[in-house]
Amino acid sequence: MPARFSRSDIEKVAALAQLRLDEDEIELYARQLDDILAYAVQVQNIDTTGIPPTATVLARHGADRPDEPAPCLDRETALANAPDGNVEAGFFKVPRVIG
């Protein structure tokens, strides 16, 4: 496992996470993620051969139900918190997608 994060490693992760980090943040997170993942090595040293992963602790899935329409938010309410919404047209507006 990589012991050290390079600048480009951090930039790659930041791009995946949609975060535009500044120079100080890149340096800070490179160091801190190193520290945290070095500590996590103890997990990697545990023998987990044949051990299934736990994604949820729910003993049974009780949420199956008929797929029936139910009341939901009206358009005006759903758009009320939008930074740039158009209630009449029913749109969330976003900046241009293609250059």
Partner: protein, 490 residues
Amino acid sequence: MTPFPSVRAIRDAVQQGERTAVQVCRESLDRIAERNTALNAFITVLADGALARAAQVDARADRATLPLAGVPVAVKDNLCTRGARTTAASRILERFIPPYDATVVSRLEAAGAVIVGKTNCDEFAMGSSNENSAFGPARNPWAPDRIPGGSSGGSAVAVAAGMAPVALGSDTGGSIRQPAALCGLVGLKPTYGRVSRYGLLAFASSLDQIGPFARTVEDAAVLMQTLAGFDAADATCASEPVPDYLSALTNDLRALRIGVPRALVSDGVDPDVSAAFVDALDALRGGGATLVDIELPFASAAIPVYYLVATAEASSNLARYDGVRYGLRAAPERGPGASDDLQTMYGRTRDEGFGPEVKRRIMLGTYVLSSGYYDAYYLKAQQVRTLIRRDYEHAFARVDAVAMPTYPTPAFRIGERSSDPLQMYLGDVFTVSANLAGLPAISIPCGFTRERLPVGLQLTGRAFDEPTLLAAAHAYERQHEWWKQTPDLG
């Protein structure tokens, strides 16, 4: 400080017309006005809404049957309240007005409770000190230069400083139990699935639970009666029948077997915390409980497992904050070479809107889920999570509850640990495994350090066995009555 009466006493007085819900609500609001400037427990005080709600309670024909008639409740600011802003202590949601109530909020209000305000916390519930709030740290009423704990710090402060009799928090790795311990309160993290999370701003969905803060075990039990139960709006909410939590409160410890993971609790614990813990074990034994030495061999790996699983889930959950449907959108870049496309807006919004700890966790979570590292970190952590669950299954074949200190130290000073995230994470050693295993756990006051800072005892139980935890905690509380001590607010 004059504390509030018990929840049952408030409820009975309002039911019987000895006091009105409006009078009780005013008392809570007055105390908040008097104390919040110094302690920063609330991000938003709902003065007008609370008084209107209280007046409705007074006018209700069924007032005499409401289980929480007129009881003021402080609610963590990551729980949605319709029409009242809900920030998660983040700049990215500074102006977010939810269009719906969290199920716990609707349940409380249907039971006659009055939400007096939204409490401070670590941003998106990520932290152990309440220092990661975009609205500044909350302060511990026992020592205002110290942290109240986190992430639900404001909820703990509101109850400990007598601003509200009870509060709600959320607990992903200790965020109810740890601030309860550091502020001298009872805090319960229910079993995963016991309480609906509809309307809780998600942090780590396989770990998050909502639960009560209270001064006594009885108050916590009364609140749980209203909070617990199936909700079709939360696909992870359990349909297990809800027991009568109050009738579980006996004073009898004789049938109880309590496991003590000696190896785990022998290391790195503050001497005063350790002494209070040992005294509490003696008291439990003196009350008739049987103490059993147990081992939780994989519990020492719980911290790294927790921080791999929780950050992975957080990186996914927080992807929704993108400046499109709600929340902050960063202004377009200006100047030569500036780009104004969608990707740039996403990145700038999230960089401006999230604080340093949230970004750190998103970065870590994104990394451990990314191609090439998934198996080594995330999958491995999920496998060790299975081993931690098995540790508890083995323990609960022999004992009814597991006792540990809630937190290895008393409240530390504001700023003392904020530059070293890993050191901060290590403090969660006794709390995170209950979340990883989905088990209920309670923190109750078990004494004070020499500097008169509160110490908490944690009891962890079998899934859905909150009654045993509440009974044990209640019996201990009757012997010691630490809860009768209150901070000197000057």
